[in-house]
């Protein structure tokens, strides 16, 4: 199968260089916003793998993000773990949950799949509320500042520093972006796209559709959990709100706006939504109304999302 081509690779590097430069150019407030956007864009990239590339409309991805968030947060808060092992615990929680949920939910399809994933996610959400002794429910936990220190090759970096926080988020974003770009152009990525197009066709060619979908869910859960775990250690807060249905709907919105099955769509969608809300809310309390109008306009003029429509109309090489 075709590898990622030169133009696409350069585009990805250019995006990363611009994001790197923004760390030194953006005012303090916007640097904080973009840090958050980068992490949530990682979450959206994870969601995009299942929804955009595999055609599985999950309404339960909040549980994978929250699994990473709690996996990292609880081990730091209650067990006193340092950042790297806690991050690893978050990843492990996410991938294990994704495999278990995927194994059960992938026996369904279409609307049933949406309902089953939503149901599992709600169970996870209610669990975080039930065990308030450990999670403090909606109020959440604030992680101690000294524990949020990243050690790399003997050097220590305080993750409460805005610059370090931005660069750490960017590093995770860069790794996931490049990995995703290669993954979706690999044989596995092509297989997922073909499964999205027609499962039965793939089955009759000898593909194990279930195993491929499960692998997609597992990788998607891992990426979503990485975003959640990084969110916990970078922003020092772990709360049930991140496991609520809102965080299952948001990545769907981001991916649809940015462009499903495009590598840069999740970033574009997340950034746009954040700034529309941010800008609109400074003028009116009815900012969701403005967001709604923007969404309608985008659906009218960019029916495949921004990157998806640009690819369809002008830049067919866009990944």
């Amino acid at each position: 199968m075709s590898r990622i081509d030169g133009k696409s690779l350069w585009l990805h590097w250019a995006v990363l260089i611009v994001l790197f430069a923004l760390n030194f150019l953006l005012p303090e407030y916007h640097r904080g916003v973009v840090t958050r956007v980068l992490l949530l864009a990682v979450f959206a990239m994870g969601y995009n793998l299942t929804f955009g590339y595999t055609g599985l409309l999950s309404l339960g991805h909040a549980m994978f993000f929250a699994a990473g968030l709690y996996g990292a947060g609880l081990t730091i808060y209650h067990l006193g773990w340092s950042v790297w092992p806690a991050f690893g615990a978050g990843l492990l929680a996410g991938i294990v949950l994704a495999v278990v949920v995927g194994f059960l939910a992938l026996r369904t399809a279409g609307v049933a799949f949406m309902i089953v994933t939503l149901m599992f996610s709600q169970v996870f959400y209610l669990t975080t509320l039930y065990f308030t002794t450990y999670t403090r429910g909606e109020e959440g936990l604030v992680l101690p500042v000294p524990a949020r220190t990243l050690t790399v090759a003997g050097a220590e970096f305080g993750l409460t520093d805005p610059g370090t926080r931005y660069m750490t988020a960017l590093a995770l974003f860069a790794v996931v972006l490049i990995a995703t770009a290669f993954l979706v152009r690999s044989s596995f990525g092509r297989t997922l796209l073909a499964i999205r197009e027609n499962e039965e066709r793939m089955r009759m060619l000898g593909y194990d559709v279930f195993a491929n979908k499960l692998a997609s869910m597992a990788i998607s859960g891992l990426i979503s959990a990485a975003a959640g775990a990084a969110y916990a250690v970078l922003f020092g807060y772990v709360g049930s709100g991140f496991a609520s249905i809102q965080y299952s709907i948001l990545p769907l919105l981001w991916v649809l706006l940015g462009g499903a099955a495009t590598t840069l769509g999740p970033l574009i969608g997340t950034l746009l939504t954040f700034y529309v809300i941010d800008t609109a809310s400074s003028y009116t309390s009815a900012y969701m109304l403005l967001l709604g109008i923007v969404l309608i306009l985008l659906i009218l003029y960019f029916p495949r999302g921004i990157a998806g429509t640009v690819r369809e109309r002008w830049l067919p090489w866009l990944p």
Binding site: M1, S2, S187, R190, T191, A194, E197, N198, E200, R201, M202, R203, M204, L205, G206, Y207, D208, V209
Partner: protein, 235 residues
């Protein structure tokens, strides 16, 4: 002559409706065996049941020592059976080359297989970068056969490969089926066109209401047009 594929007493249902009734037939090694019958006789269902896309409720489908009814649908092509469904079922947004690669990847085949397939169907060589949805009907059928051949099958199931094609393309498809027979590939061919059957098939099974009414050599069919009239209503 040994059998490449044997169906015995196969029952199959769509919901509560029984489509195949104790259906039996043998595909001999290296033959082209045609299933002929009116619309709704169960020809396509037979192919889908062999491929596990529609479950068999009773009976056996043996390929060598393997009972295909006990395998998952995705495991059946790995036994050496390839299916070219009605309507071609290509990935129309993908190029010709990418469609072939999906076939090659399915069984871990490489460039040597691809070259062999393209030598067999050279018309596709100039179209490799073209989106398969933009090919003509005949070229799409060629590609569907080529994709199936990427699995290097010894049994090929073809569902109405000449449907909607112009005469010159029909002849090319028939030549390809005959050439595959010469390479030792056993083929089950579902056809509506009696002329196409007469020119390429070795034996014919007449299907009616999900049953195999009669299996005859094609020579007998040539000498007895009444047979076709009885089961298909034309001829």
């Amino acid at each position: 002559m040994t059998a490449a594929l044997t169906l015995r007493q196969v029952d199959c249902f769509y919901g509560d409706v029984q489509v195949l009734h104790a259906f039996s037939f043998d595909l001999r090694e290296g033959e082209v065996h045609c299933l002929l019958g009116r619309n709704g006789a169960g020809k396509t269902t037979t192919l889908k049941t062999i491929m596990g896309l529609v479950p068999a409720h009773a009976g056996s489908i043996m390929k060598g020592e393997t009972d295909l009814t006990r395998l998952a649908a995705h495991a059946i092509p790995r036994t050496g059976i390839a299916y070219v469904p009605q309507g071609r079922q290509l990935f129309t947004d993908l190029t010709v080359a990418e469609n072939l690669e999906i076939g090659l990847m399915a069984r871990g085949k490489g460039s040597a297989t691809r070259e062999r397939v393209l030598e067999f169907l050279p018309a596709l060589k100039d179209r490799l970068r073209q989106r398969s949805g933009t090919l003509s009907g005949g070229e799409q059928q060629m590609l569907a056969i080529a994709r199936a051949l990427c699995l290097e099958p010894d049994v090929l199931l073809l569902d109405e490969p000449t449907e909607g094609l112009m005469p010159s393309m029909i002849a090319r498809i028939q030549d390809s089926v005959a050439a595959l027979r010469n390479q030792g590939v056993s083929t089950v061919l579902v056809e509506q066109r009696v002329n196409a059957v007469l020119s390429v098939a070795d034996r014919v099974s007449f299907m009616e209401n999900g049953r195999n009414r009669e299996t005859v050599d094609v020579e007998r069919l040539r000498g007895d047009p009444a047979l076709v009239r009885r089961y298909v209503g034309v001829g």
